[in-house]
């Protein structure tokens, strides 16, 4: 079966006064229909930029997509220009995005209802009555009570959690095949986060769309994603099923990341082991492995070149010269 979306060797750069920043440096991944994948990494690793490239929302200047293919439903989206009719018909209708900041993602001068109705009328060619009805249904489905009344409310009248729900409703309104959620819960409280993720999963099951969760929070992808891609310095350093990546990590960065995060269920005495050093400089990339300066296993590393992704298990890849095996994440008591 062909994957719904296949990204091959995507490269995105930013032209700055300090030099050319290689924000995304040869990223390849895929997602099947109905799948939920997680794209994890810290700030600056390129995860958000790569998703913006898929929908061609990268401001040019200073950003530029300089290589790769984005094959969605058999078509290479990069063949179309960012403001072309084809891309506009894809955005919102076939691929939609949910952003981190629900406050600024909505236009404050239009009601929430108006903003949900807009794509419905544009993409699904519904008339205003029908679109409004559909908007109310959607708001009810995402758990907003009194939807009939609240559809006329303005963004500032909604709480953070409710705005994010409305954002989900808007993203799903035209039955997209792929939903990209970029840090959807980072700005929310932990109980609201659980609610929002629950709704997103329910909707995904109901509408049978694929979901990409981009986040730095390892926990939420452990709970909800089937496959994980770990990114660092603009590339994918490890990929595999959630079980594989969390319980059998094969890249020093993944291992280090898991060791540096406290777990709610572990022995308290465990010392958190931070990743030494600073995040990488994306302008002057070294010719060898970009993680080497911070890698605790650097002394054992014989490879001089930039490692390629190689297979270490069933659909489990790592970008590391060493054939290391990590321990399961944290120590599991009892």
């Amino acid at each position: 079966m062909e994957p719904l979306l296949e990204v091959k060797n995507l490269k995105v750069i930013f032209n700055t006064m300090a030099g050319v920043v290689k924000a995304v440096d040869g990223v390849s991944y895929y997602i099947d229909e109905g799948e939920v994948i997680g794209l994890v990494g810290e700030s600056g690793c390129g995860k958000s930029v790569s998703q913006l490239a898929v929908t061609q929302l990268i401001a040019n200047p200073p950003g530029e997509i300089v290589g790769g293919e984005i094959i969605f439903e058999g078509q290479d989206l990069l063949r179309y220009k960012a403001d072309s009719k084809q891309m506009r018909s894809v955005r919102g209708a076939k691929i939609s995005m949910i952003f981190q900041e629900p406050m600024t993602s909505f236009n404050p001068v239009f009601s929430i209802g108006e903003q949900i109705i807009e794509p419905l009328m544009l993409h699904l060619k519904l008339d205003r009555q029908a679109a409004r009805q559909r908007a109310i249904e959607l708001l009810e489905q995402v758990g907003i009570s009194d939807a009939r009344v609240r559809v006329n409310n303005y963004p500032h009248q909604f709480s953070g959690g409710m705005r994010q729900r409305a954002m989900i409703a808007m993203a799903l309104s035209c039955h997209p095949k792929l939903v990209i959620a970029d840090e959807p819960t980072t700005a929310l409280d932990v109980t609201t986060q659980a609610q929002i993720l629950e709704i997103m999963m329910e909707m995904t099951k109901k509408f049978r769309n694929s979901l990409v969760i981009v986040t730095h929070n390892l926990g939420i992808v452990a709970r909800h994603a089937q496959r994980i891609y770990v990114m660092y310095a603009g590339r994918i350093v490890e990929s595999g099923s959630a079980d594989d990546v969390f319980n059998d990590p094969r890249h020093p960065y993944t291992i280090a990341l898991l060791k540096s995060v406290p777990r709610l269920d572990e022995e308290r005495g465990r010392q958190l082991i931070p990743i030494e050093g600073l995040p990488p400089n994306l302008i002057d990339m070294p010719p060898f492995c970009v993680f080497k300066p911070r890698c605790s296993l650097a002394s054992q590393c014989i490879g001089e070149s930039d490692p390629e992704l190689r297979q270490v298990g069933d659909n489990h890849f790592t970008r590391c010269h060493l054939g290391i095996k990590g321990e399961p994440s944290g120590n599991i008591p009892r």
């Binding site: 810290e42 409280d189 540096s260």
Partner: protein
């Protein structure tokens, strides 16, 4: 250092902080935002009390009241046995060297026009602690080293440092006058995951080395559990559960605490699949209009009619375990 016989350094008694809501040109008061509504706890010297809760619960306000940034509406704040609640501003400023604050935002909490060394050394200047310039310079460099920064960077400006480094500058500033008590207000939530561990370790090291007492305000329960001796859970201005870290995790009694714990994600798919999930209904009510009786009852699955009638008091149900719930 003076402490009471049971070694309490900081005590908060029945703290209330109400912010008036005004309307109209003449600023008529129409109500109060009850940010903190009758909160009491003690922190012993050398300990860490973790204060957790979600937005609007009042935890940040509690920290600021203790530091006398706000003037509490009522209640008492006792530092080293001294009641500092009603002291006038100039006296409070003179006590400042004893209690300090580490901020959440490493970008906004440092004056962009001040060099890092000047930021760290400013408390020394303000309290006239190091008149000799040579000694001052050495002290500042010493502080840099203490927090893991290169002492040659004292002339650089904040924008030349990374987020984690700026947080270290903030911590160095808090330590410069050798305080007894530090309020850490979300010290790591604005940092990258891999840097968070560096700062958590640093804070713990410093606590051991300098015998500091911390009030850690955070919303990340995993971190709070890792670092705190005791944990207080807040909801809408009230403490709903107060106990030690072990007990809180193994035996949470208040339904809100249980929901909070179940919502914290654990980076392990096998564990996650087996976990019980409590998904709360609705949103946190506004502190302008809190529900009658127990603030949590509209969202509580164990609520009975009595829950809306009276505000549950924090009572002891086991040694060092207090809960504010009538159903427990």
């Amino acid at each position: 250092m003076e402490t009471s016989p049971d070694n309490t350094l900081v005590e908060v008694k029945n703290l209330k902080m109400y912010f008036p809501v005004t309307q109209g040109v003449l600023r008529r008061k129409i109500g109060d935002v009850k940010a903190v509504d009758d909160v009491s706890f003690k922190i012993r010297q050398g300990e860490t009390l973790g204060l957790v809760g979600e937005s609007g619960c009042g935890k940040t306000t509690v920290g600021r009241c203790i530091l006398r940034i706000y003037q509490p509406t009522s209640g008492q704040i006792i530092l080293e046995g001294q009641d500092i609640t009603k002291l006038p501003r100039n006296k409070v400023q003179r006590l400042r060297y004893k209690m300090q604050l580490v901020f959440q935002d490493p970008y906004g909490s440092l004056d962009p026009r001040q060099s890092a060394g000047s930021i760290v050394g400013e408390p020394l200047k303000v309290h006239h602690l190091c008149p000799d310039p040579q000694e001052y310079r050495k002290k500042v460099e010493g502080l840099f080293t203490l927090v893991g920064l290169n002492p040659e960077m004292t002339n650089r400006y904040p924008h030349e440092f990374s987020g984690g480094q700026r947080q270290r500058i903030g911590i160095a500033r808090a330590l410069s006058c050798s305080p007894l008590f530090i309020v850490c207000d979300e010290p790591i939530s604005a940092l990258d995951v891999s840097i968070q561990a560096q700062i958590i370790n640093l804070l713990q090291e410093l606590q051991k080395k300098l015998r500091l007492t911390y009030l850690l305000i955070a919303h990340d329960l995993s971190v709070v559990r890792h670092v705190s001796d005791n944990i207080a859970v807040m909801y809408l201005g009230h403490i709903v559960e107060l106990t030690d870290w072990k007990e809180l995790y193994e035996n949470p009694l208040m339904p809100y605490t249980q929901a909070l714990l179940s919502a914290v994600p654990i980076p392990d798919p096998r564990v996650e699949r087996k976990r019980e999930r409590i998904i709360l209904k609705g949103d946190v009510p506004s502190p302008l209009n809190p529900p009658a009786g127990c603030p949590f009852h509209p969202r509580c699955w164990m609520a009975i009619p009595d829950c809306s009638k009276q505000l549950p008091q924090l009572r002891q149900v086991a040694p060092n375990h207090m809960v504010a719930c009538i159903r427990v």
